[in-house]
């Protein structure tokens, strides 16, 4: 329970960074932190006390293993996170070229 709450807290730290920071690089890092916390949460809910990793080896008999499904999901989620980082980084580089700044409050030709 406290572990879940700490993960949730990490998620909210990331959300705080993504909504309030002015620096584009900080926003990208904050999005990354949110991704980490979700991945950790998915693996936390998969853990079974006293269980081992879900890979058979010849020497092992029938032992309790952790839930493998969330691990498969997190593998996909990590790749997606890498994709969004790459895309955001390339957008940030182009924005820097055009505006000569990483300050989101000065990147403001649009009024929305």
């Amino acid at each position: 329970m406290t572990l879940y709450l700490m993960t949730f807290f990490l998620f909210l730290v990331g959300l705080y960074g993504a909504t309030t920071k002015r620096d584009i690089i900080k926003i990208i890092l904050a999005i990354g932190i949110m991704g980490y916390s979700v991945n950790l949460f998915l693996i936390l809910i998969a853990y079974r006390s006293g269980a081992i990793y879900p890979i058979l080896t010849k020497s092992l008999g029938k032992e309790l293993m952790v839930d493998p499904l969330p691990q498969a999901l997190v593998l996909t989620a990590i790749v997606i996170e890498l994709g969004i980082t790459a895309l955001l980084a390339s957008l940030a580089i182009r924005i820097f070229e055009k505006y000569k700044t990483f300050d989101i409050t000065q990147v403001r030709r649009l009024k929305g």
Binding site: I31, M34, L69, P70, T76, I80, L88, K98, V107, R108
Partner: protein, 498 residues
């Protein structure tokens, strides 16, 4: 079994374009056009096919049975969304054949377009929560790149804002999927719906909240709408019409309907929230549109307002309200695509989007002017066109459900809609001529696409005639309201093998 091909064909096309058509732009365009036609035929055929299959076709991947693997569910609602996606995207592909003359990187455009269709088709078909998340990401990633396609400063800025908002909302959705997995130990939507029937924990409200915020951000409900008026106008015109016409509907509205009606069983708290937010977005979007001078920004805010109508219909929760919402969803995708294409044609001819520098275009661009008039009249709800009927149904549904005040708001905003579209017509196509010269005539494919969509504005009103309504729109409404049928099919297969 045609179900998986809706994803496989555009995906294959995208990879093929990236492999063989990198230097040959005409081949890329040709592949995209062929795929568009194939998907269009397949989606209409799928709707016909359903009547012989008791209204639902299930497909399981990798030769396993449902909760173990991912299942695709093709029912009337999915098929309806597939038709909207493929028809609008076919017209948008045709439109962009000549619209892209002024852009570089055609093959990237068509490859990303194919990936966007892949993502949306995947979302419309999937019956699995995590798979929903993956396909949302595919279509969003291509949407970010296509918004920034012109590589101008404003476009990059809009794409960055869109990407940040999209990343936050996707992370929220993934978190809520994790919580759902923890309390049910399943990812299949039907299975989760079945297990939640006798689940009374409070954590489900956290899931509701996260899902409403997550999908609300994608469908631009009002407290979460700030990205839309930047992102949609910045894209090239065919992409604007895809984003406003189809993407927000599939990723936002369709996903919300599927998750909350078919899986969670339309909880009352959800309906209340959606109803209130829908009315707020209707009003705010309408009032903001009145103040715009950029023609595409005006259309962007108008989208916020019309999405509010759709959510008003859904939030009522009655069969009539949902019928109106579904019909308005279809109509809005047609006329908003048309209006964005008109704006694109004007931009193509004049190289500006400022309405103060236009005026008197009706003589120079007669087809654009006429079709734009049809689109404007449809969206503001003038009788012979489709927008009138869907708005009328929503208003009647409001009164029937005992909310005459909401009906009043809907009528008021409808008048405001007429006002700002008349303003758009007055300053763009009629009145004093303010532009210096027309750079270029509107090319053939642009004209043709606009004429087809204008025709559809009239034709789609046919769907409401008794007799046709029963076999089309009513079937879709039934799927939304019938939770038991959606979750039923999973029962005999629990933990089955091959």
């Amino acid at each position: 079994m045609i179900t998986p091909y809706f994803v496989i064909i555009p995906l294959f096309a995208a990879f093929l374009i990236a492999l063989i058509a990198r230097k040959k732009e005409n081949i890329a365009a040709g592949i995209a056009l062929i795929v568009g036609i194939i998907l269009c035929i397949m989606s209409i055929y799928s709707f016909v096919l359903l009547s012989g299959n008791e209204g639902a076709i299930y497909y399981h991947f990798s030769n396993w049975k449902a909760p173990i693997t991912i299942s695709l569910v093709l029912d009337y609602l999915s098929s309806f969304m597939l038709i909207i996606i493929s028809v609008i995207s076919l017209i948008a592909i045709f439109y962009s054949l000549q619209y892209l003359n002024h852009y570089t990187g055609k093959w990237q455009f068509f490859a990303l377009f194919m990936l966007m269709i892949t993502g949306m088709n995947g979302v419309a078909l999937t019956g699995d929560f995590f798979n929903l998340f993956v396909f949302i990401e595919i279509s969003l990633f291509s949407a970010y790149s296509l918004v920034a396609f012109g590589c101008e400063a404003e476009e990059l800025e809009a794409a960055f804002k869109y990407a940040i908002v999209g990343a936050i909302s996707s992370t929220l959705i993934l978190f809520s999927v994790g919580i759902l997995y923890s309390i049910t130990s399943s990812l299949n939507m039907a299975d989760v719906g079945r297990l939640l029937l006798n689940e009374k924990s409070k954590v489900i409200y956290l899931v509701y909240g996260m899902m409403i915020v997550g999908f609300g951000l994608k469908s631009a409900l009002v407290p979460f709408h700030a990205w839309l008026p930047d992102a949609h106008p910045s894209a090239p015109a065919p992409i604007s019409s895809m984003l406003s016409g189809v993407l927000i509907k599939v990723l936002g509205i369709y996903a919300l309907i599927r998750v909350f009606f078919n899986v969670f069983g339309a909880p009352q708290i959800f309906l209340q929230i959606i109803l209130i937010l829908g009315i707020i977005s209707m009003v705010v979007g309408g009032l903001m549109s009145l103040m715009q001078w950029d023609i595409k920004r005006l259309l962007g805010f108008s989208t916020v307002s019309q999405v509010g109508y759709i959510f008003l219909g859904i939030g009522l929760g009655t069969p009539l309200g949902i019928l109106g919402a579904i019909f308005h969803l279809l109509n809005h995708s047609i006329f908003k695509a048309l209006l964005f294409m008109n704006a694109g044609a004007v931009e193509y001819a004049l190289d500006t989007r400022d309405m103060k520098q236009m005026g008197g275009l009706s003589k120079k661009l007669p087809i654009t002017s006429t079709t734009s008039m049809i689109g404007s009249l449809s969206i503001s709800g003038i009788p012979p066109f489709n927008g009138f009927f869907s708005k009328l149904i929503i208003i009647i549904a409001c009164i029937q459900a005992g909310h005459p005040i909401y009906a009043g708001w809907a009528i008021l905003i409808s008048i405001i809609t007429l006002a700002y579209y008349l303003k758009m017509q007055r300053f763009t196509f009629y009145g004093k001529q303010n532009f210096k010269k027309i750079f270029e005539k509107v090319p053939f494919t642009l004209k043709t696409s606009m004429i087809i969509l204008a025709g559809l504005c009239v034709i789609s009103s046919v769907l409401i005639i008794p007799g046709i309504k029963e076999v089309t729109l009513d079937k879709v409404t039934e799927v939304i309201l019938d939770k038991t049928k959606y979750i039923e099919y999973i029962k005999p297969l629990i933990l089955g093998g091959r």
